[in-house]
């Protein structure tokens, strides 16, 4: 039960699988494997992205299988977006089921010309113009009920609209939420926690110094030369949101991982 707020024992560590056009695929796979196994050993959750930013990459489940990685299914969260053929989507879900993975993050995702978009009829979402994460959540819960499905919550969207969307996601069967990155106390996240006290919420913490990317996410410009201390920010967020899980995006394994392990240990001991 890694998503319950009563047991946020570990962090969710974002791992991006190798790109399809990698010119050093074996090296990239080795790196993926070492990150994945380190996350497993630490007791954290490996949160594996699905063609992040629309860039064609291999799927997490196939990397785990192909590399024969020692997977602890309860510690794996597979991201799944709407940019797949139905065949692909079902293959991924079936493969994850076989691996014993039980958590999926359903998101709309970033498209690209190379990525096919699920058709409404394929996701049993007739009458809609395009498949959304709500439809995807409903589809997964209907056909693969063994998965706990998480959804995204964007505190930077117009609040009422986002809460209305969240309700539709929860009605479709979502059982946990991951926010977009926040770097300080956030009113929308506070409201989320107040309105849904029993809903497991995982707060995304931005661990990169690439502030231009963060600017894109939060929707307001953050000067590139602004002082930003990812570890310090995470420490602040841990204090502000003690009942939440934490999704650490773009974590530096070489430079930040040891500090994260220490912080996790402190958290576990304090529970």
């Amino acid at each position: 039960m890694i998503f319950t707020r009563s047991d946020p024992s570990g962090f969710h560590i974002e791992i991006i699988p190798p790109k399809q056009d990698s010119q050093k695929l074996e090296e990239d796979l080795d790196l993926f494997a070492s990150k994945f196994e380190r996350v497993m050993e630490s007791g954290f959750t490996a949160s594996i992205t699905d063609n992040a930013m629309g860039l064609l990459a291999f799927q997490g489940h196939e990397c785990i299988k192909e590399l024969g990685l020692r997977a602890r299914p309860d510690q794996i969260l597979i991201h799944l977006n709407t940019f797949h053929t139905k065949q692909n989507l079902d293959d991924i879900l079936e493969s994850c089921e076989k691996l014993g993975i039980n958590s999926i993050l359903a998101i709309s995702g970033d498209g690209s010309p190379r990525l096919p978009k699920l058709k409404p009829s394929e996701a049993e979402a007739d009458g809609t113009a395009s498949v959304t994460s709500v439809d995807l959540t409903r589809y997964i819960r209907k056909h693969y009920p063994s998965f706990a499905v998480g959804v995204a919550f964007n505190p930077y969207e117009p609040e009422e609209h986002e809460f209305e969307k969240l309700k539709r996601k929860l009605d479709a069967g979502a059982s946990f939420v991951i926010t977009q990155p926040i770097i300080e106390r956030n009113a929308a996240v506070d409201r989320l926690l107040a309105e849904y006290p029993d809903l497991p919420v995982i707060v995304e913490a931005w661990m990169s110094k690439k502030l231009f990317l963060l600017s894109d996410v939060v929707g307001y410009p953050i000067p590139e030369d602004a002082a930003f201390d990812p570890i310090g920010t995470l420490e602040t967020l841990l204090k502000l949101y003690p009942g939440c899980g934490f999704y650490l995006s773009l974590l530096g394994f070489k430079t930040q991982y040891s500090a994260i392990e220490e912080m996790a240990e402190e958290r576990r001991n304090s529970k």
Binding site: Q20, E26, L56, F58, C63, E66, T85, R114, P116
Partner: protein, 262 residues
């Protein structure tokens, strides 16, 4: 069925830049990708192989770096790949390229079907596919949107036109160029991608394919790219409409009607 798919390495559209002096595409340092239309040709070839059996051979002409697009073709499921490579081929226009690829297809031997994307996104000529068919003196259909039947030495396809499609029956060996409507190209699996990277891609010189050196390369090309112009920058005019949603929607519709957009 032995199927050859001709593929081309092209600059990624998002990266393509034009030299302001020479007005030519700057290829150096630009990310290169498999021509998007060729993905559909590859996918269709693989589907035909899955349907009737046989093998799929990917073929390209270009610098050694073009091996990358052939590896991608192998990752998708092509069985073998060859690259025509050598400075003698450099500067070939569509005429010379068609000749070289036709010679390579003859070298492969016993080919029943050739597939090409309808055009490359860099040159946009749509001439090489038909040119290969002409050099090989075989039947061809361009802009194919569906393959209906294969067998008994024939191929029945739907050829897209402005009003819909024609149904065309071709005798094999034949060449078709395909449009995007024909299929959804598969995404390579990791297993296949790893296997593909271990497959050797032979480089063929003009001698290997028995090509006449006087018919390839810049000197043998009857056409020249005199100039390439980037498209004119469109005037953008941002209008911000504020107010209550219903009022803003009315204003927006009014603006669009006034500009002839509705």
């Amino acid at each position: 069925m032995k199927i050859v798919v001709c593929v081309k390495q092209v600059p990624a559209t998002t990266d393509a830049k034009i030299d302001p002096e020479t007005k030519r595409i700057i290829r150096e340092g630009t990310k290169a990708v498999l021509n998007p239309f060729d993905l559909y040709a590859l996918e269709e070839a693989i589907r035909i192989r899955e349907w009737v059996g046989g093998e799929v051979i990917a073929l390209s002409m270009g610098p050694e770096s073009a091996k990358n697009v052939l590896t991608e073709a192998l990752s998708m499921g092509a069985d073998r790949a060859f690259l025509l490579c050598g400075r003698e081929f450099a500067g070939s226009d569509t005429w010379a390229t068609s000749y070289a690829l036709a010679k390579a297809i003859e070298t492969v031997g016993g080919v029943d079907l050739i597939l090409c994307g309808k055009q490359a996104i860099d040159g946009d000529t749509a001439q090489v596919g038909p040119g290969i068919a002409a050099k090989l003196n075989i039947m061809q259909a361009a802009n194919v949107m569906q393959v209906d039947e294969i067998g008994n030495g024939t191929l029945t396809v739907r050829r897209m036109n402005e009003r819909g499609y024609d149904i065309v029956r071709l005798q094999t060996p034949a060449l078709i160029t395909v449009v995007k409507d024909i299929n959804v190209p598969r995404i390579p699996t990791l297993r296949r991608a790893r296997e593909a990277r271990r497959i050797e891609i032979p480089l063929w010189t003009y001698k290997d394919i028995g090509a006449d050196p006087d018919k390839i390369g810049l000197a043998a090309s009857p056409t020249r790219v005199v100039r390439t112009e980037p498209p004119a920058i469109r005037n953008t005019d941002t209008l911000t409409i504020s107010g209550a949603p219903a009022d803003a929607a009315k204003l927006l519709v009014g603006e669009m009607l006034a500009r002839g957009l509705l």
